[in-house]
């Protein structure tokens, strides 16, 4: 019983997502526009890095291949978010419109119904670019790939994605406390997260601390990459990524649940 529950829950999630994916794929032109556009967005960042590293061997002690790994982690986390959890972004709109009503009378967790409620096809472009960048980077970096290190990399990178998703959920859940449809916090935070596309060591101490402990975006890319690459004496910090991820998931879930108690539907 206890073992089949999570599997059934996950299967149901895939069912919801799959239904939306099929609906989204009906407009083939849209699919291509979104995929091409998201690839172009990520490509500009890569071109920037290429232009910079054409003139300098390292940035704050990081080589191009290493920076690309950091960069690709953010791109992949965003891609997973768009493709599989895009509904999270619609939470403020749903709360404002009273659209959570029916999700509250179905026997499936509200948070999962919300998160699976939309598909962002741009995620496909992000995952393609991010995957290619990561593959390119990992083939270049100077790392001894023991099975243990591979397992470590997988664990850390999955945790990194979880952190990004949790921050998004927690920030969109803040809409339960704020009135008004034009709710800007999640998008604004997402922009802050873009800072993590570069080694956080380039920033001032204040920003570095903020990205580490206040909103742990540095654990989405910089610290796990450092740990896997064994880069610098502080690289052990990256081993904390799964702990940080666990903390973020718990906090995000709690914020959502507390918020849901305040849900007021809408008065037509």
């Amino acid at each position: 019983m206890t073992t089949t529950r999570p599997i059934a829950t996950a299967r149901m999630y895939r069912r919801c997502l799959g239904a939306h994916l099929r609906a989204a794929l009906e407009y083939e032109a849209d699919f291509w526009i979104l995929v091409v556009a998201s690839i172009m967005m990520q490509a500009t960042g890569v071109i920037f890095l290429g232009a910079v590293f054409a003139r300098i061997p390292t940035l704050a002690g990081w080589t191009l291949a290493e920076v690309v790994l950091i960069y690709s982690l953010v791109v992949i986390a965003e891609g997973v978010g768009s493709l599989c959890f895009e509904g999270t972004w619609y939470l403020p709109w749903m709360v404002n419109q009273g659209d959570l009503d029916y999700t509250l009378v179905r026997p499936y967790p509200v948070v999962l119904q919300t998160m699976s409620g939309a598909v962002g096809l741009n995620g496909v472009g992000n995952l393609l670019t991010g995957g290619l960048l990561m593959a390119w980077s990992l083939s270049r970096v100077d790392v001894d790939w023991s099975p243990l290190r591979i397992a470590l990399a997988v664990a850390l990178f999955l945790s990194a994605v979880l952190i990004k998703l949790s921050v998004t959920l927690a920030s969109t859940s803040a809409c339960f406390w704020v009135f008004g449809a034009s709710f800007m916090l999640p998008t604004a935070l997402h922009q802050v997260g873009e800072l993590a596309k570069y080694p956080v060591s380039v920033y001032s101490a204040g920003i570095r601390v903020a990205l580490t402990v206040v909103i742990p975006f540095a654990f989405v890319s910089f610290y796990p990459a450092a740990a896997v690459l064994g880069h610098g004496q502080d690289s052990w910090v990256g081993l904390l990524t799964p702990l940080v991820a666990g903390y973020c998931v718990v906090v995000a879930g709690a914020v959502f649940r507390r918020g849901l108690r305040r849900y007021e539907s809408s008065g037509n």
Binding site: A29, I33, M40, R55, M184, I207
Partner: protein
């Protein structure tokens, strides 16, 4: 007669800009954090002593701030409303109004641009002060810069307008907007000074209208283009505005013909 109608639109749009403030602030936020990252990265890069197109740190700061201003202009999301009206067929209601559609949208853009300019210059100025100042050109050069910034408004409007017209053929404006944003960032020089790009990209950028959006005002501000050369750049801007304006009218006419053929 018509001129008064457009003037009225400018005023109304300037007054209603507050209804778009959420989107405006959001757009500003997006560009702001990119700016922040860029400022840190470039300070580090230039401290390394390597040559980056001859830019000094204060010059690069000035460049990034000019790029911040030009990227924030004409971003108050009138385009999303226009895209939605095209997609839902509501645009056919606009066809019967006694004003030129393109001019009307431009009038609205101008109304909002005033506030956008004020806010972005205030933000850019504060950042310049906080980070230890940037070089300021002499008065004649400053005037040329002002003209080049003024030209960015119609030019950027036309780039956005033309891409929004694509909605007559495609459903998804989001993707179109992203693609345009990326293209503009790369080829206007707002991502990185064009001289630092591979030469084929530089050439491409120079042959297209995008360089007039950021590279031109930046070059004039930094005094990289003075006198005749600066005037030449301004003329290029004017040329692109003319060409794209005509292109906009042509595409519109074509799109509308399609619309009426298919019965809206």
């Amino acid at each position: 007669m018509a001129a008064r109608a457009y003037l009225c639109m400018v005023k109304v749009s300037a007054r209603t800009v507050l209804t778009y403030r959420a989107n405006f602030v959001l757009g500003l936020f997006a560009v702001f954090f990119q700016l922040l990252a860029m400022l840190y990265v470039w300070r580090l890069l230039l401290e390394s002593g390597k040559d980056f197109g001859g830019y000094t740190w204060p010059q690069m700061k000035a460049y990034l701030l000019v790029a911040f201003v030009t990227s924030s202009l004409v971003s108050a999301y009138g385009d999303f409303r226009m895209a939605a009206r095209i997609r839902d067929g509501l645009v056919s209601l606009d066809l019967v109004k006694p004003v030129t559609y393109q001019t009307a949208r431009f009038a609205e853009t101008v109304g909002r641009a005033a506030l956008e300019l004020a806010v972005t210059f205030a933000v850019a100025g504060s950042i310049a002060l906080v980070t230890g100042g940037i070089p300021v050109p002499d008065l004649p050069q400053l005037l040329l810069f002002a003209v080049s910034i003024a030209a960015v408004v119609p030019l950027k409007f036309l780039v956005v307008y033309l891409s929004t017209l694509l909605c007559f053929w495609t459903q998804n404006y989001m993707g179109v907007a992203w693609a345009r944003t990326s293209l503009v960032a790369l080829l206007s020089g707002s991502l990185i000074p064009l001289v630092l790009l591979p030469s084929w990209l530089q050439t491409t950028a120079m042959l297209l209208p995008f360089a007039s959006l950021t590279a031109t005002p930046a070059a004039i501000y930094l005094g990289q283009a003075t006198g005749g050369e600066a005037l030449g750049l301004l003329l290029t801007q004017a040329g692109w505005v003319t060409v794209l304006w005509v292109a906009g009218r042509l595409v519109w006419r074509f799109a509308v013909r399609q619309l009426t053929v298919h019965g809206g």
